[in-house]
């Protein structure tokens, strides 16, 4: 049965806290939404609420890390990666501070709160920071591995924590190696490279394409940075087309990262599924996903359109 990524995050933090007393958790009056409340309950003396003051919290996290502790910082993605961007840039990333940014309520799946709360740019913002590692887990099991991996990296890590309940894609035994993509379905006609909540849509697209005689591979690009360029180039050599799928702006995220790898190195047909350079708005998450084309149907259309252009 599925679980939400944020609950998986809270539980992973709690488990990590049991093993490592250097882990401290910082939140900005959203502990009941980011689910750091699970850690707080277990280790109240290692939890710090900074109130609704994200910029202060971000720099304070740097202070914790300079003092030998490992701070995990949580708030909504927009108010962390967005509002506190320059604090992350100068006080954390620029000095390679050992701070873990685990920001929740990313993307359009925030739903009803609307465009002011839907971060469609967080990956872009984090991706331009030298030395930043970026994980976009797709299910609870992967989230737990990502949190552990983050604690083992000495430097800043961004983990994108989506809000909804997720179906299980991976298992306990699926490897999670930072920077190493997982090919979760092999294929030779088209390769769909996806991350996070778009993985189930990519899998659904591949199943439908199969019925139409199209052999689609699906790659789970759980690490957006450092990205697995070897895997991208290998799939580009093997397939006739590549389609990326992300719950993020098509500018600056996974699609851009893959395009940067392909440019000049491959002439594989290529296109991106994502939020098309516009803001989100209020609505039920599923309605929004359909309205913005973040679904299997749109991925299928992209795949077919690329393959039909083939000579």
């Amino acid at each position: 049965m599925g679980q939400s990524l944020r609950v998986a995050y809270g539980e992973a933090l709690r488990d990590l806290g049991a093993e490592n007393d250097k882990i401290v958790v910082l939140d900005a009056d959203l502990a009941h939404a980011t689910m750091t409340s699970i850690f707080k309950e277990a280790y109240p003396d290692r939890f710090y609420n900074f109130g609704i003051a994200e910029t202060n919290m971000m720099c304070a996290a740097a202070g914790f890390s300079h003092s030998g502790l490992i701070p995990f910082v949580s708030t909504f993605a927009l108010f962390g990666a967005g509002r506190a961007y320059e604090q992350i840039r100068n006080s954390i990333s620029y000095v390679n501070a050992n701070v873990k940014l685990c920001l929740s309520h990313s993307g359009l799946c925030v739903g009803e709160d609307g465009g002011s709360h839907q971060s469609i740019e967080d990956i872009a913002l984090m991706r331009v920071l030298p030395g930043m590692t970026i994980f976009v887990p797709c299910d609870p099991a992967e989230m737990k591995k990502a949190v552990r991996a983050a604690s083992e990296i000495n430097g800043p890590v961004y983990i994108r924590v989506a809000r909804p309940i997720c179906e299980d894609i991976t298992t306990e035994d699926t490897p999670f190696i930072p920077g190493k993509a997982n090919i979760i379905r092999d294929g030779k006609d088209v390769c769909i490279i996806a991350a996070g909540l778009m993985i189930p849509e990519a899998m659904q697209a591949a199943r439908v394409l199969e019925k139409d005689g199209i052999d689609a591979a699906v790659v789970n690009m759980h690490t957006i940075k450092p990205i697995d360029s070897e895997c991208v180039l290998q799939m580009a050599a093997k397939c006739k087309a590549i389609v990326t799928a992300e719950e993020h702006s098509i500018i600056g995220g996974l699609g851009s990262a893959v395009a940067e790898i392909l440019a000049g190195k491959s002439d594989v047909k290529f296109s991106r599924v994502g939020v098309n350079d516009m803001f989100g708005k209020s609505g039920k998450p599923q309605d929004l996903f359909n309205a913005y084309g973040l679904n299997a149907e749109n991925i299928i259309n992209h795949c077919k359109s690329l393959l039909s252009k083939e000579i």
């Binding site: 409340s37 109130g51 609704i52 003051a53 009803e112 002011s116 209020s282």
Partner: protein, 270 residues
């Protein structure tokens, strides 16, 4: 035209808020219910606005900096005729002009987009300074939450407001004592807020935030050369017994049973 007392109207607005949140099954009842009288004092007693001309150049500007209380704003705007009342029941639905947080480009009567806490009051400072710059004499109202004022930006705005002697700016605090993770004191203590605003150069008033006359009196009190701060003492979830003073009702929609109980308590026909 049938006129009802403001007291009756407050109940109607509370019922509208609950119906909106129940219908879309999301949103923020606690902080919406706590600022009903604050917004009523502005919209029904003091502000110079025209529902037929929402963009009137000389209008007073009203900035709901704690944007998650948008249902209160929408219920009042609909009551005043800025848009049809039926629109309220489409709050937060895809393609509704009523977004989860106020949107100036979608909803008639909304002056500034808010939702990211702390920013509205800064925009309000800019509008007040622009009014001075243009030698216009309209007023700017900014409604902030007590959790919201933990943002550093709020104090940068306060500094600028005093520096530029913005006596056309009225900052109104919804002092309900609660935020998301608990009370202000548990999450991040605020200390003596009035003393802080005084130290920043504001003229300060403290009123019962559920008393429309008291709020109106403080808004109208003449002032010169200084921005005004009105600390409105309120209860989060006010008007619904089981929501009152409960931080758990910050961002949770009522179930059918809770909704019906709440409306019955208010004694309003829907």
């Amino acid at each position: 035209m049938n006129t009802i007392s403001l007291e009756e109207k407050a109940k109607q607005i509370r019922a509208d808020i609950l119906k909106m949140l129940y219908t879309c099954q999301s949103g923020h009842p606690g902080g919406s219910l706590s600022c009903v009288e604050m917004l009523m004092a502005i919209y029904y007693k003091t502000a110079n606005i025209d529902p037929k001309n929402p963009k009137m150049e000389t209008r007073d500007r009203i900035v709901l900096s704690k944007g998650h209380a948008s249902p209160t704003l929408y219920a009042i705007l609909a009551d005043l005729g800025f848009f049809p009342r039926e629109d309220l029941w489409h709050l937060r639905q895809i393609d509704s002009h009523l977004q989860g947080h106020p949107d100036m480009n979608k909803t008639p009567g909304v002056d500034v987009n808010t939702g990211s806490l702390g920013q509205g009051i800064s925009v309000a400072v800019g509008m007040a300074l622009a009014a001075k710059h243009k030698k216009e004499d309209y007023q700017i109202y900014a409604i902030v939450g007590d959790g919201e004022i933990q943002e550093g930006l709020v104090w940068e705005a306060a500094m600028a407001a005093a520096h530029y002697k913005l006596d056309n700016l009225i900052v109104m605090l919804d002092h309900n004592g609660l935020q998301i993770d608990g009370s202000n004191d548990e999450v991040m203590s605020l200390g003596d807020i009035c003393e802080k605003y005084k130290a920043f150069g504001f003229e300060c008033y403290k009123v019962d935030g559920h008393d429309i006359d008291a709020i109106t009196y403080a808004i109208k009190a003449p002032i010169s050369g200084k921005p005004k701060f009105i600390c409105c003492e309120t209860h989060k979830g006010h008007g619904v017994s089981f929501m009152s003073d409960q931080f758990g009702w910050h961002g949770k929609a009522p179930s059918k049973e809770e909704y019906e109980r709440a409306v019955a308590e208010l004694g309003v026909e829907l």
